[in-house]
Symmetry: C2
Subunit: 197 residues, 2 copies
Amino acid sequence: MGAAEVIFLESGYAAASMDAVAARAGVSKATIYVHFQNKRALFEAIVHRRTDAVFQALQLSDSRTDVRRMLTDIALNFVTMILRDDTLSVYRVVLAETPHQPEVGEAFYHGGPAFTRHKVGEFFVSLEKRGLMDFTGTDPFMVADLFLAMLAGDAHIKALFTAKPDEDRINRVIDTAVDLVLCRCGRHDVSRPPVSP
Amino acid sequence: MGAAEVIFLESGYAAASMDAVAARAGVSKATIYVHFQNKRALFEAIVHRRTDAVFQALQLSDSRTDVRRMLTDIALNFVTMILRDDTLSVYRVVLAETPHQPEVGEAFYHGGPAFTRHKVGEFFVSLEKRGLMDFTGTDPFMVADLFLAMLAGDAHIKALFTAKPDEDRINRVIDTAVDLVLCRCGRHDVSRPPVSP
DNA sequence: GTCTATAAAGCGATAGAC
DNA sequence: GTCTATCGCTTTATAGAC
């Protein structure tokens, strides 16, 4: 991460000073103003870079026919992504600045949460086409929304405001969320793992 | 709302100046420092007040035996609460300041999101005792967590970063979330409304 | 392009009169 | 308790030398 990224993410927009950025980058302030028109422009550039870096990394693993396994894998990847320290920081900083620079909030939302939701929605569509899920009476993108929401849920809020929950709780949340989705949209003839004798 | 509330909520902690608070309150800066030791103390007091005001207002309506109706009512109250402008503002401002004043984030989490989740969890426990829901194989507080998470979901994130979603979408989210919960934890003999002929 | 030096303004907090 | 005035510091941004 560049110097400016570190300063902005750990101080917030208003409290981050161009002096601090310059000092950490090992250059003078005037040099920064050669490359960026002002503090806002620098911030905007950073948010775009971090948003892409974080949210485009989500892996949608596909293990043939075991739907429960697929959803669980995706869930774990997603939760790991949103609970990373830098993801939490960019979330806080962008959100705080959104009322004063709406374009930044908009860009983050579309390149981040909305992008992820759409990606998972499309994956659900492909699962339905392969006969592995059934969205009759609802809609894959809506279920993707609720699925990701459950996974983030209290764990995300708790991580943002106090501290990350322990791994046990996270795993129980994942299992229950997968349960709920499969109970409503699973094809029971294919989604249930064989019961051990 | 007091003057300090307005200034802090619309500017954020760092960008809010004591001059602005004083001007809006119609007093001098020195007068404020008689009542509060410093800027941080003033902020802390405000967060406590707003948190209580917002989150203790949630109504858990109880309509006898129609579980679907009860969950839908609670869902609507909850979504209305978290999408209010002042709720969104306090969420943004507290979150931005959490890395620098962890006690404030902690207090907000416990008096806000965690408080609500616990309240709904207890309500689910009471519904199970009355034979209206069935949490076999899971746990009412976990389901309460996931239920509220689904209701907030993308609508909350979108409202925080760009603009509130339209009412139609919110209602579809509520219906689907209630569906998912009842599909897993509903007592099918009592929860389904009669089919119209 | 990169530096040093500085301008111009805003900040939190306080002193001292009333 | 409340005011005016101000201290001491930090901020963004720029001017001008190299």
